[in-house]
Symmetry: C2
Subunit: 200 residues, 2 copies
């Protein structure tokens, strides 16, 4: 509970990073200002010198947490290669961005289920839309016969759904891998089969 994310951050940043982790683990209602303060190593009252209230702190934590996975996907989108390589690279990056960053993944899961329309709108416009549009553009290029937005939506839905359901997978004898890297490979193959089936 006392993991220092990095020693050279401002107190405000340390609070946001720590809060993101705690909120991802226990949800908004499950984390108290006292919990956050203790994990950061300050007193609860000091948090109010950096954030107006618990909700402001929560937003800052969200924005902080989503920054890294978005960068990861953007890098994959800019990588060169054959269309097949670029598609596989994108799928792999998406899977890794989610599977490799449980903090942001769980925050998104939680936000999807209990964020009000206002919070959802802000997250969509400020955080999700730019990377989504870039994914869309690249998929339109890689599969010109189909609608890039729909392909992107199916891809993201499948990745998100699989990783959300991951705790259930080993308990249900589905024959599906629990290894994200292997899943990325697997899904890339199925995606190509789908696109092939659509174009014949």
């Amino acid at each position: 509970m006392s993991t220092q994310a990095a020693p050279d951050l401002s107190t405000r940043e340390r609070i946001a990073v720590t809060a993101a982790r705690l909120f991802s683990e226990h949800g908004f209602a499950g984390v108290s200002m006292r919990d956050i303060a203790e994990a950061v190593g300050v007193k609860a009252a000091s948090l109010y010198n950096h954030f107006d209230d618990k909700e402001s702190l929560y937003f800052a934590a969200l924005a902080q947490a989503f920054d890294h996975p978005i960068r990861l996907v953007d890098q994959a989108l800019q990588a060169p290669g054959t269309p097949r390589q670029r598609l596989t690279g994108l799928v792999t990056a998406l899977v890794e961005a989610v599977a490799g960053d449980p903090v942001s993944a769980r925050l998104l899961q939680r936000e999807l289920v209990d964020g009000g329309p206002g919070r959802m709108e802000r997250i969509a416009q400020e955080l999700m839309r730019p990377p989504f549009d870039r994914i869309k553009a690249v998929l339109s290029e890689l599969a010109p016969a189909l609608d890039g937005g729909r392909v992107a939506a199916y891809l993201i839905a499948t990745v998100h759904g699989y990783l959300s359901l991951l705790p259930l997978v080993p308990m249900l004898d589905s024959g599906l891998t629990t290894d994200p890297g292997q899943f990325a490979e697997d899904l890339s193959g199925e995606l190509l089969a789908w696109l092939a089936g659509r174009q014949r």
Copy 2:
């Protein structure tokens, strides 16, 4: 907040139904015993005559909520028709079971993100596994060339992912429908394209 689920249920059942709705809306930590009691129309202390503690009540609410969608899917699995019709019927039933029953859908979403391994195991074995195995069996029959478990897992992941992400869909210009019925049709078509791509 005072919706009576049905007038002819035992007090215990009325508590479970009401609690399921509240937990689905606000999460375990976001619902107090007082909230549940008020919505049911009794005093908080009376809840303890029916359930040992808050967690026992929560489990009962889960089991109650999952009962209906599971029946719905089972009905679709038993329906006759051509393989294509049966596949479309299964996809439609799955989508409807989730989209048409927000209470159980949201409870599952919440449980996937903050249920510990113990709770997850119990849900998997007692509630999810029987219907999953039946879906698996039917898909093995409908697409004999592929592994039924894997097809089932991809199907469920996509349905679950799409419906989880539904709040984001209209905000992201994805070209994907927000109507669950149309999505079921759409997904059935894509599923057939996928299977076609895999078998050629």
